[in-house]
Amino acid sequence: MNIVVCIKQVPDTTDVKINPETNTLIREGVASIINPFDVYALEEAVRLKEKFGGTVNVLSMGPPQVDASLREAISVGADEAYLLSDRAFAGADTLATAYTLAAGIRKLGGADVILMGRQAIDGDTGQVGPEVAENLSIPHLTDIKKIESLEADGTAVVQRMLEEGYVRIKVKLPIVMTVVKEINEPRLPSLRGKMNAKKKEITVWGAADIEVDPQRLGLTGSPTQVVKIFTPPKPSGGKIFEGGVTESVAELLSELKKAGLAVGAGKGE
């Protein structure tokens, strides 16, 4: 089975602090990590490989420093890693990103299963998975929480998480799936994996190496345009009660009443 995992390198938000004076993000010295959701996708891919054989190729798009994240993916069991990196890819919105990733997947000869996290924690869009599937003219399913079974004839039964429960779906490969955290418990790299990652050759492809229309890449290929970035207004100081428990609770409830929020006994419904 050929499995491709798309990963994104993102800033580690556990490191991100807000500058209290300017109310902006402090990005200096923030470590770069593999998008946490993509780590689950990677683990699932490695588990599929262990069960059914095949290869796990990891693919990313981004600046040269994404190399470190791709090596990390190798250390936990991916076979090969590919980086799409070119100034021409910069400024891509989800449409142009998916277009570029799909071209990379085609260059790899396609895949039976394409996995990625449900969304990246910096952009939070969750759009790239479905858009990659459309570019490859194959189906997709988002928010997968379990791959129940996978048969030799290329059918699988999966569970997709929804707001009010989940649906069980029988799919036929090839397919793009995005996964949620519940799907597995990712492993830590083994010593051998780490050694392997160190010496692994990471393939880097620029725009000229993949079959693409230059007009569809990066900023030029992006219909959406960010026209303004701003930090949301800092919440004005709330009312904090620090007295005795009984009084504090009473004060809180009276404040809620004042705010017109009916709670508790006699809420009049």
Binding site: L25, D122, G123, D143, E182, Q215, T224, V249, L253
Partner: protein, 395 residues
């Protein structure tokens, strides 16, 4: 010519304002001049910061656009399953009706499914002008693959200038595929929509980076301008009765064969789990200390008719299932009241609940960051405060 970003060296005085404005740490100073590196995403924050000196210029070229003048009006996706409209639908209609005021263009709902005539009439009562309906027994509940094809074909025929969907699991999966099919832009999970008074473009504002920055996004040269809208943020349209709206049957739109088979829908609708829909949420974190103590939160939740949420710490400790998790790697919630008990308020947790109408923090540590975003807070031991709260609520 490709798009580019350039620093005009003569104009750059090396003040560093752009460095502070850049959300991507993509600018450094070299020999007292700004240098933009490959982390740049062309967001334009530096251009705004450099208004005074105008030393940074973005040249932008967009790929061949379709004829935008052929598109007009607003359409919304009427997501439905189990014979009911998704609860986000009246909210999107509410947002669209606001946009309609500044556009003076008709509003349509795109309704696809089986036996959905009743829903079409309901949509008209919310004030849409037309329902573009494709009713066929080949369009099953959760058959998102089939629905995607049908919706894309309807949009290609009807050519609305704006198309909005819910920021639900289905909406955030179906709309990207449709946008990619049509070759237009899509903005995810918007919390604010507005028509620019001069250009008439749809200004789409959304949180990014876990809600720490907001971005306003335009889709100027492609149509429809598409967005998904975060659940429970927009004010729902009230049912005011059908005022001359009509149902347009689109029976000629083909219904393709499904690519996958929906075996079953397993509902997990307990009293306390559906945190996405809840108006009130009682949430517990590390301070709960023991899984047994969640019973206390359930008691409070019962008093308030609330759902029970949790921080990642509580979920990772195995105290409560993942479906309750609020935050960046869990669910985003927007209740009227969010009560955080024993939650310190890590940035990832705040990302999932910051836009709640009212945040109440109960924590023994006065320095916990949760108090920075709380509208009301009680500093104290939650094992004393919560029982007292239940007692006083019982009145």
């Amino acid at each position: 010519m490709a798009s580019s970003i350039k620093v005009i060296l003569d104009k750059c005085i090396g003040c560093g304002l752009c460095i502070r404005a850049c959300p991507f740490a993509a600018i450094t100073l070299v020999d007292k001049k700004a240098v933009i590196n490959e982390k740049c995403t062309f967001c334009g924050a530096c251009v705004d910061a450099c208004k005074k000196y105008q030393a940074i210029v973005i040249t932008r070229e967009t790929f061949a656009a379709h004829d935008v003048s052929a598109y007009s009006g607003i359409a919304v996706f009427a997501e439905n399953h189990g014979g009911q409209l998704a609860s986000v639908v009246p909210e999107i209609i509410g947002a669209a009706l606001e946009l309609k005021k500044s556009l003076d263009a008709p509003l349509a709902a795109v309704l696809v499914g089986h036996n959905v005539k009743k829903l079409a009439e309901e949509l008209l009562e919310y004030g849409v002008d037309e329902v573009w309906m494709r009713d066929d027994n080949g369009i099953g509940d959760f058959s998102e693959d089939v629905q995607t094809e049908v919706v894309a074909d309807i949009l290609k025929e009807k050519k609305p200038a704006i198309f909005l969907g819910g920021g639900t699991v289905i909406g955030r999966s179906l709309l990207p595929k449709v946008a990619s099919r049509i070759g237009t832009g899509l903005t995810a999970d918007c919390t604010e929509l507005e028509i620019d008074p001069d250009t008439k473009f749809l200004k789409q504002t959304r949180p990014a980076f876990g809600g720490n920055i907001m971005a306003t996004i335009l889709c100027q040269n492609h149509r429809p301008q598409m967005a998904t809208v975060r659940h429970k943020v927009m004010k729902a349209a009230p049912k005011t009765g059908n005022k001359g709206g009509r149902i347009v049957h689109l029976d000629h739109i083909p219904v393709p064969a499904p690519t996958y088979e929906v075996l079953e829908f397993v509902e997990e609708k307990t009293d306390t789990v559906n945190i996405v829909e809840a108006d009130f949420i009682v949430s517990g974190g590390r301070g709960i200390k023991d899984p047994k103590n969640f019973a206390l939160l359930h008691d409070l939740a019962k008093e308030l008719d609330a759902a029970v949420g949790a921080s990642r710490a509580a979920v990772d400790a195995g105290w409560i299932p993942y479906s309750h998790q609020v935050g960046q790697t869990g669910k985003t919630v927007n209740p009227k009241i969010y009560i955080a008990c024993g939650i310190s308020g890590a940035i990832q947790h705040l990302a999932g609940m910051k836009s709640s109408d009212i945040i109440i923090a109960i924590n023994s540590d006065r320095a916990a960051p949760i108090f920075d975003v709380a509208h009301f807070g009680i500093v104290g031991d939650l094992f004393e405060v919560v029982p007292e709260l239940i007692k006083q609520l019982k009145g």
